[in-house]
């Protein structure tokens, strides 16, 4: 028995499916541009780590904000916050932008793939996996 054969396609148009993060009019909520460390602008990523700047939420915090602040007393990824709060990723963008603006949380930028991979990072990951 032979397996089915994959046909390489010509680069098919992606008309019906906007690319990630391109913020087409149909998906305005895709653009989560938040102030990163040192004030430069960074997009909120699923694995951006969020840490509360103070242990107690201020009285002005909304219940939603207070819940988030309590969750990230220790660093927690946006994905984990979304899971614990049962909020979609798009809603996290809004909530976190408010908290970042109010300087109630700090965001630690993710490591993203670069044109040239960082070998020492990959080596660290391999060492970590070896210990699993």
């Amino acid at each position: 028995m032979t397996p089915p054969q994959r046909q390489r396609r010509d680069l098919a148009p992606e008309t019906a499916t906007p690319r990630e993060g391109d913020g087409k009019p149909g998906n305005p909520e895709r653009m989560y541009v938040v102030a990163g460390p040192d004030g430069e602008r960074a997009e909120l990523d699923l694995v951006t780590l969020i840490v509360a700047r103070a242990t107690d939420p201020p009285p002005s915090a909304s219940p939603e904000q207070a819940a988030l602040l309590r969750l990230c007393a220790a660093p927690l990824s946006v994905a984990e916050l979304s899971a614990y709060l049962h909020l979609p990723f798009s809603a996290m963008g809004v909530l976190l932008t408010e908290l970042l603006t109010a300087e109630l949380v700090q965001a630690r930028a993710p490591i993203v793939r670069k044109a040239r991979s960082d070998r020492s990072l990959l080596e660290a990951v391999m060492n970590g996996l070896q210990r699993l």
């Binding site: 690319r19 989560y32 969750l71 990824s77 979304s82 930028a109």
Partner: protein, 206 residues
């Protein structure tokens, strides 16, 4: 969700909290068709019980009455489960088990663009469901390895036969795995990391 009772929102268990030294996280995606073992693989290597992040997708109808108000739209919830591995006191790795249908991918901003790489899980009973995903990863320049799940009643092919069927270049690793076993899933991740490392050495891209 009612946030007024938010004192009771369950957060991470004490042992699941990251140390304050955690500086940055990276991610890997595990893709494949329905029921191919994505959740199983995430769960077998994760240090936390896998969690789920959801996103709602508004199906506005492609090219059809987009402007006729929300009544004509239906919302679909798409779930993605993920796990976590602490690499060092500073570095955390997240694994996302991603639905195979490409139309879901853009729901999570930067999921693929930012990922270090991907594992494509294939089931030899339905090899063709993974064709599309591989094409898309190639288009986007996301390096990937292929892991073949050995389901008991699945046809077995030689790796080189699979390589030919999947039309993969000789450098792309293909391996068998049992996603239920931690050691096997870890080997798949190791293979991906070695592959990424070799790409970094040669300066070439997948």
């Amino acid at each position: 969700m009612d946030f007024n009772g938010s004192d009771t929102i369950p957060g991470p268990r004490a042992e699941d909290q990251l140390p304050h030294t955690a500086q940055a996280a990276a991610k890997i995606v595990i893709v494949g068709g329905f029921g191919v073992g994505k959740t199983t693989m995430v769960g077998s290597v994760s240090e936390i019980t896998p969690l789920t992040t959801e996103e709602t997708m508004t199906q506005a109808g492609i090219g059809v009455d987009d402007n006729f108000g929300s009544a004509s739209k239906t919302a679909t919830t798409v779930a993605m489960d993920f796990g976590r591995i602490s690499i060092t006191e500073q570095l955390v790795l997240y694994l996302f088990g991603t639905p195979g249908q490409q139309r879901f991918w853009f729901l999570w901003n930067g999921l693929f663009e930012g990922a270090l790489g991907a594992v494509v899980l294939v089931d030899t009973r339905r090899l063709e469901v993974s064709f599309d995903v591989m094409g898309r990863l190639e288009e986007r320049g996301v390096p990937f390895v292929v892991a073949v799940n050995s389901f008991p009643d699945a046809p077995r092919y030689a790796i080189e036969e699979l390589r030919a069927a999947l039309d993969l270049t000789p450098d792309i690793p293909i391996m068998e795995c049992d996603a239920r076993r931690r050691a096997s899933s870890r080997d798949v991740l190791m293979t991906l990391m070695r592959f990424l490392h070799s790409l970094a050495m040669t300066g070439s891209r997948a």
